[in-house]
Symmetry: C2
Subunit: 282 residues, 2 copies
Amino acid sequence: MDREQSAGIGSVAIVGLGLIGGSMARDLAARGIRVFAWDRDNAALRAAMEQGIAQPVLWNEPLDAIVIALPVRAALEMLPRIALKMDGVRLIVDAGSTKRSIVHAAQALGIGERFVGSHPLAGDHGSGWNASRAGLFTGARVFLCPTPSTGGEAMALAKEMWTMLGARPEETDAEEHDRRLAWTSHLPHLLSFALGGALAGEGIAHGELGPGGRDVARLAGSSPEMWADIAADNADALVPALQAAEEKLRAIRHMVASGYHAQLRDVLADVRDWHGQWMGHD
Amino acid sequence: MDREQSAGIGSVAIVGLGLIGGSMARDLAARGIRVFAWDRDNAALRAAMEQGIAQPVLWNEPLDAIVIALPVRAALEMLPRIALKMDGVRLIVDAGSTKRSIVHAAQALGIGERFVGSHPLAGDHGSGWNASRAGLFTGARVFLCPTPSTGGEAMALAKEMWTMLGARPEETDAEEHDRRLAWTSHLPHLLSFALGGALAGEGIAHGELGPGGRDVARLAGSSPEMWADIAADNADALVPALQAAEEKLRAIRHMVASGYHAQLRDVLADVRDWHGQWMGHD
């Protein structure tokens, strides 16, 4: 990091005090950074104030950075309003699960130089201020996606902020990010929802699942609004992934129904090899 | 439990020292029960001997109970041979994930009075003696499925043995067991394999998954032989479950591809409600 360019972050405005924004607020405040915040839910803001974590943002404070920690669609709607409040601000990041649309929007709004699209891999199926906690980002990967115009100072500040939160920043292209995340994150979430939907349709309660089934169904407890947004925003990358999973499932069903025992075992063994190669990294 | 009928278990033969049989051997031996064992893998048997857990079974020992802890298909093949070694044996249980076929086989072999089909919900994606461990069954549900002829003593002894291992026995019908497990266990396993197959096909390594994706893919590390057996043995109950999941997945894909945002959100919200109602039980 270029220490000349980055004089560090002293004050941050966080827009959205959910799981991600709330957890950022807790950790940044604990590191001595002045945190200002906004949330559509007054209760979240009040809780953050009462716990001495954040003050309500009035947009006349001297801010080094702005964090938009809203669901994908809400972040896209908020960005033009934030773009009018950027006097003196050296960095603006989001924290959403898709990156192409927001990076494109920031560039189009003329704030591309100071914008760094961010995606911390630290969500879980909890949501809201009450799910937020200190240390959420410790050891988590965070993808940083520049706009075509992102400057060196903004990138350095973004890396500094996420590193301060304990995360491991990885710079990547927004296009490539969205394509890969369609497979590694969005597809597993929707598979988990599909399992839950099938079980619900059969009248089987979640409590009847064993430990293995609970693992696969865990993400079905995620926020429906958030995941409908992500799916809509990344539809072109996600549809082929959903299609591939359907095809695998149909092939497995065909083998089960037809009694192709050895063939099924070989297919499962190939997948197990894929999984096993990486078990040590779990 | 009827203490007159059940004089307790003093010695057990365990056929198969994998995750389930090995863990049973460890805990039964630790509770002072004499454990005799067989495994096709001499190394597993030798390890159990060296750790003072079990002696090789010679089939001339006085045995109170026999446990068949083999994969579904191997258990069905082994049962007729075990049926010839039942002198003085008061209980025989299996530990497989399907129950109709083995309960039916025990009845047909004329050992139905002493047979109790057992299915502990305590497997994980590990397998083999090296994955076995003390305390595997602590707090785990175990389904007990009688044959049409199972006697009171055998059922009492089965409950005693599983309770001694820390499990929570639940008596249930073999037919109903297999239908429900198709949905609550076998479907999630094959979904996890389908996800792994889709990711492998796209060239995406397991290590690229975030924490959520790893949960959904975890069961793809399970034993291919074991799960091909289970799927074959429970095909008639499993095929409709696989079909239902495919239909949910196809419906979700259609909504994503067509931009039906509100409809997708509502579908996901219904699943989240199904999941959320039971979150406290996790």
